[in-house]
Amino acid sequence: MEKTDSNVAGIYGLLATFFAREIDLKQLEMLRNPEFRDLLETLGVNLGDDFFKRDATLLLEDLAVEFATLFIGPGNFISPHESVHRPRDDGDYGKLWGADTVAVKKFIEATGLAYRPEFGGMPDHIAAEFEFVQKIEERMETARSDGDQDLAENLKSIKNRFLTEHLLAWGPGLMDKIMTNATLPFYREIAALAKNFLQQEGELIQQQAVK
């Protein structure tokens, strides 16, 4: 049995943060400090010298424009919602508020979580899905430290089910589209990290299934 690692929750949380909204000055300053720079390099994320040297105000402006261009519009943007990207067996495809939106909303709310009223996205927003897995991971860690193995195993099966039914089914494809369309290294590299990480999570689930 693989030991849960709170670091997994950390990476899910990081991805949720970056896909939820454009980064702000405080986050930029954190990312630029040497400790995080080393950490990002260890993760294989190369943001380029420009990211660390350029004037913060100008860089934040460019990153905000990139975020809007990629995810918000106008024009050809990549809607960060599952129901838009994932074809279903019943032919439901390419719509906001599709059947998958409802499925994700029900799944998340069934675990005792609710969407914050100020969250303006659809329930199947990629950031909401990442944050959901982050919260399950954190809860799993708490259960393990409390010695509640049954709850931890239950949470693990919930996480694996959600990944299999939702995030792994469309996340890597979305990341491919982001990598193709991104014009700055930041979102391209974060998308590559997300895809790589999701694939590892998928492999882990397969290994557990073989056992």
Binding site: G13, L14, E131, A192, L204
Partner: protein
């Protein structure tokens, strides 16, 4: 572009994680724990609040409703009325979103309190039905051509409807009309009745009504009044919507107890009126 070649999961995880969370870099904050909900053994009490401070008259709700239901040209389930107040040169145009009020009612049929449209329906009460709450509690109620569900929605069952039109006459708001494209279930010579269902097919799937979902300025707020943590419950408390029905609901004189409330600090509702004979014409959305 750099390719992420770091496939050593252990190494990846060894160096990250807790530090990210501690630094606040791993907190998107889109989700929160559900607050202890009101005992959902009770059915929800669906209400909609129209915030007149926010409505821009864009008609996105009208269009969303039409596309959700394929509402025919010329007919509307929700409309935006424009009201001009003041005197030249000090005038102001305000927007009043309207739809079926899904009234609580004050008249009794048996032990159930029903609004005038349900009271007037000759095909109510009919079959026995069961409403199941989120907690699994079963609440028995009666169906009919037009009937009231335990969660407060006033719905139409076309299979039981004779198309007599008594509910259209009974509704003081003009929210009901004939569907020119559909015949009633029991009398194929008469048209079916059409009105807002509060998107019951979406609500039953846990999704907000189409008009609420599409309202960009957030002028339509929908939720369960029985849930003290809901936005509608908080707003109802903040603005005293339940206590001041004569100012926060449409046509309070009819005592239908609407479940659509208006946040109306400028008293626009008081300036909006129509004659009973014009109520159906009033339910046409015409941009002037």
């Amino acid at each position: 572009m750099t390719i992420n070649t770091n496939n050593d999961r252990r190494e990846m995880l060894r160096v990250t994680g807790a530090s990210l969370a501690a630094a606040g870099l791993a907190a998107a904050n889109l989700l929160q724990p559900k607050e202890a909900e009101a005992a959902r053994v009770k059915a929800p009490h669906w209400v909609m609040i129209m915030d007149l401070r926010r409505c821009t008259g864009c008609r996105a709700c009208t269009v969303a409703c039409k596309s959700e239901y394929n509402v025919p040209l010329g007919a509307f389930k929700t409309v935006i009325k424009q009201v001009v107040t003041g005197k030249y040169p000090d005038t102001r145009r305000s927007f009043i979103p309207r739809r079926c009020n899904h009234c609580e009612g004050t008249e009794k049929v048996g032990r159930i309190t029903v609004p005038p449209c349900v009271k007037a329906c000759p095909e109510y009460p009919k079959d026995r039905r069961i409403f199941v709450t989120a907690e699994g509690k079963k609440i028995r109620y009666r169906g009919g051509a037009t009937y009231k569900r335990p969660d407060g929605l006033i719905l139409i069952d076309n299979d039981a409807c004779t198309g007599c039109g008594k509910c259209i006459d009974a509704c003081p708001y003009g929210a009901r009309t004939y569907n020119k494209r559909k015949m009633s279930g029991k009398d194929k010579s008469k048209n079916a009745i059409v009105k807002c269902t509060s998107c019951v097919h979406r609500l039953d799937q846990g999704v907000t009504p189409a008009c609420v979902n599409t309202c960009a300025p957030g002028a339509r707020i929908f939720g369960d009044l029985n849930d003290p943590g809901s936005d509608v419950a908080k707003l109802a408390k903040e603005f005293g919507l339940l206590e001041n029905r004569e100012k926060t609901t449409m046509k309070p004189d009819f005592k239908t107890m609407p479940n659509i409330f208006y946040i109306d600090p400028d008293g626009v509702l008081a300036d909006y009126s129509y004659n009973d004979k014009d109520k159906l014409i009033e339910y046409r959305d015409i941009v002037e």
